[in-house]
Amino acid sequence: MVKLKQKDLILYSGLIILGLAAPYLFSAFKVQLTYLCVLIVLAMTWNLQGGEMGYNTFGNILFYGLGMYLTASVQVGMFFPLAEWTESGGEKTFVHTTAQYFQGIGVGLLVSAIVPAIVAGAIGYAILGLRGHYFAICTLGLGIAAGEIAGGIEIIGAGQGFTTPPFPAEIVDTEARGKFFYFLSFALLVGTFIFVKYIYSSRFRLILNAIRDNEDKAEAMGIQTMKYKIVGWMCSAFFCGLAGGIMGGLIGYIDSTDVAFDGREMGVFMVLMAILGGKGTLWGPVIGATLFHFFKEGLWTLILGWQYVALGVLIVVIVVYFPEGLMGWLREKYPERFGEVIDEKDRKAQVELK
């Protein structure tokens, strides 16, 4: 297991206490905080591919959307006929009891974690054989195709969408729904962070980095790259599916292309957040997602109607001018803090070479 230094211990326990207290401190922003947790999870899992492995995927949205549909379908399908539910306002005729609701969402989340991971494993061998921009475009196509196809399937609501079960009415506390989803997403965030932190201290990360830096050489060194690539993708899919399941319950309504397989928003957000924070670092995606979320929520209302223009411009500016992200910039500026020792002589020699 990872050994924590005392400084880190204070930091982590502080963050966890802050996280646990947040819904009580900022009671009005519970939904936003839930979004933030999910965004961080998505950015961190994207970073496993894009940052560590060098496979810039647009396809993690596939697992997110899949998880969303699966959780809702299982939650409904366990107790009521799914087709009747989605056909015409089934949520009005069939009502989940409190126990059924929580049972349903529990099993649903379990399914939405495992199935996307299996899907990632199944398509991984075919898709991860592609490299560079071909992989990027292929996964982009995959995510959009999934949205289009889900929009044509009748049993999950087709184009008119899928209403997820409403929170049980027997619970009178109006705050309960927000708290429930917040703590669910916070637990997911903590779980993801611990997992990613564990990966960062393991040999697995070194292998992923070797694949990023030079896949052919990594293979020549006897690493079965394909195996590690697939396992890496399965890990991401696992957490993306869970994030999608929680989001589906929170939003309460699933649309195929605008909510679930939302490549235009979530799919780009996760890439952008990881790059903004600095890909290939543990804290980069966390900071990037937090900054992005604050920026988005703060500015979205000020520039109503123009938010997507701002988003597009933001993508261009970040990608063109800050491809290394915040952590990369800090690293450039304070290399000592990242444990990098700089040989002054060597640096001078390099400057002279230029």
């Binding site: 071909y134 196809i149 988003l311 993508i315 261009v316």
Partner: protein, 297 residues
């Protein structure tokens, strides 16, 4: 199999003709993509949005009372300058970088374009009426809008003009030289910066032509750009860079695939089928190459 298309053979003829005429149009867009990919080594996700913008230019002319077919002349001229400006603003900063940077940057441009078009032209599906009528074939069982025939004809015309231009003109030769070896071209006195800007402009102009033709044959909507990008990307990876006959053939093949998918799977899966085809083509090529222990480059 109880698909309608297999019961009525005339529908097959209909779908084939539609597909081929449509495919020629796709090939024109793909040619632009191959050009910029080959010369500048960037993949332009905003390609489809440039097409739609070109279409809206023709649609604006239609609203102003000018026949939209004139769009095939006006739209490329305007789009050339749009492309040039786009190059000067953003693209020149991503030319020499990693391909993923160019993909993401053009993705950002695509989002901006979509939104601006949404503001200016509204979110309705629009079409510019060319009023060319239809041609009836085989005892009126196959209907062919004349606008589609017109669009295929114009596409071929422009493609031939471009090929001749690339072969004969000074700029065309400079572009080809830069595509072969940018550094050598630079040493020999080619202003590569200008060549890049011109290439991007020409690509945008091609998109403008295609957009103007789409405005009279199909429909326009601010958010349907991405399928055109993916179609052209697909055609280029099947045909290879700079192989114009192959681009034309695979464009027509894609058109045929789409029309048949439309009849067999249903219209709601049409775009999904296009994107799935992209995935299948890439995966197929990946397996084919991995037998030789190679990968797509």
């Amino acid at each position: 199999m109880d698909f309608l298309i297999f019961k009525a053979p005339m529908l097959m003829v209909q779908a084939s003709l539609d597909g081929i005429l449509l495919g020629i149009l796709f090939a024109l867009i793909a040619y632009g993509m191959a050009l910029q990919w080959g010369v500048m080594n960037i993949i332009n996700i905003a390609q489809g949005d440039l097409v739609i913008l070109g279409g809206y230019i023709a649609y604006t002319m239609y609203l102003a009372g000018i026949h939209p077919a004139w769009g095939v002349i006006v739209s490329p001229i305007i789009m050339f300058f749009v492309g040039w400006a786009l190059y000067k603003l953003v693209i020149n900063k991503v030319v020499d970088r990693d391909l993923f940077i160019s993909i993401l940057a053009t993705f950002g441009i695509a989002i901006v374009f979509q939104q601006l078009m949404n503001f200016i032209f509204g979110a309705d599906v629009v079409v510019a009426q060319s009023e060319y009528g239809t041609t009836m074939l085989f005892d009126n069982s196959v209907t062919l809008p004349n606008s589609k025939i017109f669009s295929a004809f114009i596409s071929v015309l422009y493609a031939i003009a471009l090929v001749v231009y690339m072969k004969k003109s000074r700029l065309g030769r400079a572009i080809r030289a830069t595509a072969q070896n940018a550094r050598a071209a630079k040493i020999l006195g080619v202003d590569t910066e200008k060549v890049y800007a011109a290439t991007f402009g020409i690509n945008a102009a091609l998109c403008g032509i295609a957009g103007a033709l789409i405005s009279i044959t199909l429909t326009l909507h601010p958010y349907v750009g991405l399928p055109y990008t993916v179609r052209s990307f697909m055609i280029v990876i099947v045909a290879g860079l700079g192989n114009l006959p192959a681009v034309a053939v695979s464009g027509m093949g894609l058109g045929l695939f789409e029309e048949f998918a439309d009849y067999i799977l249903g219209t709601e899966f049409r775009i999904g089928a296009v994107f799935m085809l992209l995935v299948f083509i890439l995966v197929y090529r990946r397996f084919k190459l991995s037998k030789k222990r190679e990968y797509l480059k």
